[in-house]
Amino acid sequence: SPTGDSWGIFTFLCAALCNLPALPALNCSEELGAGQSIQQTYDLTRYLEHQLRTLAGTYLNYLGPPFNEPDFNPPRLARAERVPSATVDLDLWRGLTDNARLAANYRAYSRLLCYLRVLDGQVGMAELRHRLAHFCASLQGLVLSIGGVMSSLGYPLPTGPAGTPAPPGAATAPNDFLKKMDDFWLLKELQTWLWRSAKDFNRLKKKVPPAVVTLRLEARGF
């Protein structure tokens, strides 16, 4: 399966990283870690984007029309604001520090993961549950990966109840149709977050010095 191959590549990347030789000419080992860490996170974001396309398609078909119609754009009721919204002013977003942006990503995906897990518990179809479970596992990986990037850059991880949102029971939809709307918006926001995160990590990758290139040059210098 294609998803299996992607994970194979990802695992290989991790294994290769662990076996990088430590050369004496190497300085800024933390930056080397950060660079590779950011690349991994970027790759994982793209992988999740790809996975979400299939998952969202299947889930929206499960919800039935009009949810799976391409031009479906329901009103965003106030109660649905609990899902972290990805659409903010783009200039505002770019104006944030790297730390703030990373922290926002970390918090958002932690909460999105929780909502997805609740979704998983309620779906009746076995095949869909299986896909959701797989996606949640990958999303968990992304949260950890972002945490890894923050650590390697020396930023503190967001504390407090970021990882655990308000208990889902408190804000459950009052009827099945509104719940379907909530599900729709959850998937939509997830899509936008992943799309923007990919750009964020790509930009961040360029900011961190290209340590791999440095490695090669210094090796030749021996």
Partner: protein, 401 residues
């Protein structure tokens, strides 16, 4: 740009998320909240994205519109049909999920098996030929007969959608009652109770290390050897085996075996190994772990599989359940060097080794011998033709004594 609506829901639908039997009718109403400046004539309905005809609408008040749905079909998706109340511009005001279907039918065909007497896996069939259109939950329950409480199986879908696995805490020599409960929004159905003892339904892993090899130069035989499954050593039971084999380009398996693969053959042929005919009907090869297949085609690749059945468990007379077939193992029978057809002369044979040699001989004779110019390969061919003709005549006349 997002359209953020005010805190209150724009409208309310009644009934909200009802459950209905297929074929029933429904009248639903949409009442706009007083905060909204919408009237009944500004509204319309859709069901699963398709607009419902205005002929089925009725205004029940200044801001309440109803719709009549008759003879409903089963729900299009298990999450419920989407009945939506819209404002004139298409905006969604409220929605209700309709669950239309049938109550479940009794699950049927419960079959169970135990792997090496350690666990129990059961599967069943839903019992409805069509669909219920509603999400139906299945629960497998079991209890020891005459006493004990009901237990619920936890590990589902281990052997297909309608299956469950009980991994431990099962007693042997004890009759168990097993049944399946199916439930959905419209009701519950319970299957008939199946009674069994774990020892009645024992199966095991297929035999391991299946090796197929030639028997010397014999063209029509292959020798099959295998190991008994390791679990057999632990228990007081025996195993009987079955072999099936097929040629490489055929999809038809032949089952073979003989009661005593290594013993004396039937019919008093003496202490030779008993051979197997490829077209023999299902039989078992006893509890030996080797067997010979005979009557095979020379120079052919064969695929062989073996399976195993535990029996005489703790001395009982009942047989167990056949294991899966082992992975196919392949081997080929030798092809002999002899040309098929034997010694009978054939008119059309132009390429025999003998002829080639003769040709060379005659060529040499022409060079080195004088007076034998009439000898040649053509003479030899004529002789062969004459030989064939005389054979035919002889056969037509009758057999020589």
């Amino acid at each position: 740009p997002l359209s953020v609506s005010p805190a209150a829901d724009p409208a309310v639908i009644s009934p909200q998320d009802p459950t209905l039997l297929i074929g029933s009718s429904l009248v639903a109403t949409c009442t706009v909240s007083p905060d909204f400046p919408l009237k009944a004539e500004d509204l319309y309905w859709t069901l699963n994205g398709r607009r419902l005809p205005a002929a089925s609408y009725a205004a029940l008040g200044p801001s309440t519109l109803s719709v009549a749905l008759a003879r409903l079909n089963g729900s299009r998706q298990q999450s419920g049909d989407n009945l939506v109340c819209h404002s004139r511009d298409g905006g969604i005001l409220a929605g209700s999920c309709l669950y239309v279907g049938l109550p479940p039918e009794k699950p049927v065909n419960i079959t169970c098996w135990s792997k090496n007497m350690k666990d129990l896996t059961c599967k069943w069939a839903p019992g409805t030929e069509g669909e219920t259109f509603l999400h139906t939950n299945y629960t497998l329950k079991y209890k020891r007969r005459w006493y004990g409480q009901d237990n619920t199986c936890q590990e589902y879908h281990t052997a297909g959608t309608y299956s469950c696995h009980i991994p431990k805490d099962l007693a042997l020599f004890t009759p168990y009652e097993i049944w399946v409960e199916a439930s959905n929004r419209l009701g519950v159905a319970v299957s008939d109770v199946v009674m069994l003892d774990i020892l009645d339904v024992v199966t095991t892993d297929p035999p391991s290390d299946v090796h197929v090899s030639r028997v010397g130069d014999l063209e029509d035989q292959l020798s099959v050897r295998w190991s008994s499954p390791p679990a057999l050593k632990d228990f007081l039971f025996q195993a009987k085996y079955q072999i099936q084999y097929r040629v490489e380009d055929s999809s038809e398996w032949k089952v073979g075996g003989h009661r005593r693969c290594r013993g004396t053959a039937r019919g008093g042929r003496g202490p030779r190994r008993s051979h197997l005919l490829p077209l023999q009907v299902v039989d078992d090869v006893g509890n030996q772990t080797s067997c010979r297949l005979a009557g095979l085609r020379p120079g052919t690749v064969y695929f062989v599989q073996v399976r195993c059945n535990p029996f005489s468990i703790y001395g009982s007379k009942k047989a167990g359940i056949w294991s899966d077939w082992s992975n196919p193992t392949a081997a080929s029978t030798p092809r002999s060097e002899r040309v098929a057809g034997g010694c009978d002369p054939k008119g059309g044979e132009q390429n025999t080794t003998l002829r080639r040699e003769l040709k060379q001989f005659f060529g040499w004779v022409k060079k080195h011998a004088y007076g034998c110019s009439n000898l040649g390969i053509k003479l030899y061919d004529q002789w062969r033709v004459w030989l064939q003709k005389s054979h035919k005549t002889r056969n037509q006349v009758g057999k020589e004594p």
